[in-house]
């Protein structure tokens, strides 16, 4: 069980990184990675939302949709539930921890219908995920969500660093701004492909 969890964390953070290998959630990755502290805030918000979303959508799929034979409604129901949930959390934070709300506030609604969040919810319900017999399935899904969020955070912070270096090194005029950002994003993604296969083989 323990080995399984280590593998899932390694895989989701490095090998199947949601941003850099699966190319989901590119919008905030490019949009909010200008400053390291903003990127960090966004990353933390994403971890939070991914875990909460899985916490709610996983039982819904298993005990409501599957029970009624309505698997095909997965996407629409998940979006509905995640959006309502994030709204709720935002209200809660505004009331209880205003300082956290002020720093996370703008990011929370932004990631409500982010495809990376939806992707985590859907992927945590695939055949492969549900057949890890020796780990409680729900725990496994939650760890997977946390690790995926961690991978997102890693990608954001790494890329914020890259962008800082780029801004300081004055690229040619024609490449300034979006073009050089996209090119460097692709190179960072390429670097992450180097992790392919590492996690499985480490624990053989």
């Amino acid at each position: 069980m323990f080995k399984d969890l280590i593998i899932i964390i390694m895989t989701s953070v490095l090998v199947n990184n949601y941003v850099l290998s699966r190319f989901l959630g590119i919008c905030p990755f490019l949009g909010v990675s200008k400053k390291t502290n903003q990127a960090f805030g966004m990353g933390v918000a994403v971890i939070l939302v991914m875990m909460m979303a899985t916490l709610v959508t996983w039982p819904i799929q298993r005990y409501v949709l599957d029970a009624f034979g309505l698997e095909y409604l997965q996407t629409i129901v998940f979006i509905l539930v995640i959006a309502a949930l994030v709204q709720l959390v935002e209200m809660f934070l505004k009331k209880v921890i205003p300082s956290l709300h002020a720093s996370l506030g703008i990011y929370l609604p932004l990631i409500t219908t982010n495809c990376a969040v939806l992707g985590v919810c859907k992927n945590s319900l695939t055949e492969e995920m549900l057949t890890k017999a020796d780990t409680p399935q729900f725990l496994y899904a939650m760890i997977y969500a946390f690790a995926s969020g961690l991978g997102f955070l890693l990608a954001m912070v790494l890329f914020a660093g890259v962008r800082n270096r780029i801004a300081a090194s004055k690229p040619p005029k024609a490449f300034e701004g979006t073009p050089i950002t996209l090119i460097s994003a692709s190179i960072v993604a390429l670097a992450f492909f180097g992790f392919g296969g590492i996690a499985e083989n480490l624990f053989k």
Partner: protein
Amino acid sequence: MPILIATAVVTAIGLLCAVMLAVASKAFEVKTNPKTEQIRACLPGANCGACGYAGCDGYANALAEEIETNTSLCTPGAAKVAADVAEVLGVAAVEVTKKVALVHCNGSCENTGKKAEYKGPQSCSAAKLIFGGDGQCVYGCLGLGDCVSVCEYDAIHIVDGVARVDIDACTACGRCAKKCPNALISIIPATKPVAVKCSNKDKGAVARKNCKVACIGCMKCEKVCPNGAIKVENNLSRIDYEKCIACGACAEACPTNAIKF
């Protein structure tokens, strides 16, 4: 039948979420400062950012929370808004001097010419990328109306190849000034209608060759100004409106009519 079940399930989930949110919005209600909304109602809502805050909401909040005490920062609203806001806050209204945008270029079709024919995208910033634009003077108005497109108040127009401000309609929000790729537009007090309508930094002879009404940096204005409010730097004359008393001596002395009164 299956469609009924599907509809029922999704509706039930949606209803559940809705009820949950409705309850939460009551339970987690946060009291906002009632003054914020009152002040916000006085402001024009253009969200132009001329006050230095992120939109009208930001300014209203800063005033209500007493972070900001200056009630006259809203230039589009001018005196009326300043008075309204002061009334809500119960403080004395501050005198507001009306400000307007001013285009530092008078390079109309008869004063200057084209060095090439430009047929690209009809935007100043695009035209400027190609050898600094199609006009003989690379500092001047490109005349393709980027400023016109950002003006919310229909106060700036391209007339005779150069941008002109309609002083009555202008609210000095400063959007045109930010947009102009040649940075020709500045915000000046409307009570001092004297201005150097040129931005050419070339040497006098070159500037004059390209435009009939160019500032040639002859320093005559600097010498006649009684208050030392006008200075020539980089072959270009500029007025310091803090010192200017709008006497018009510089405009009379200007040999090329670059200064208008």
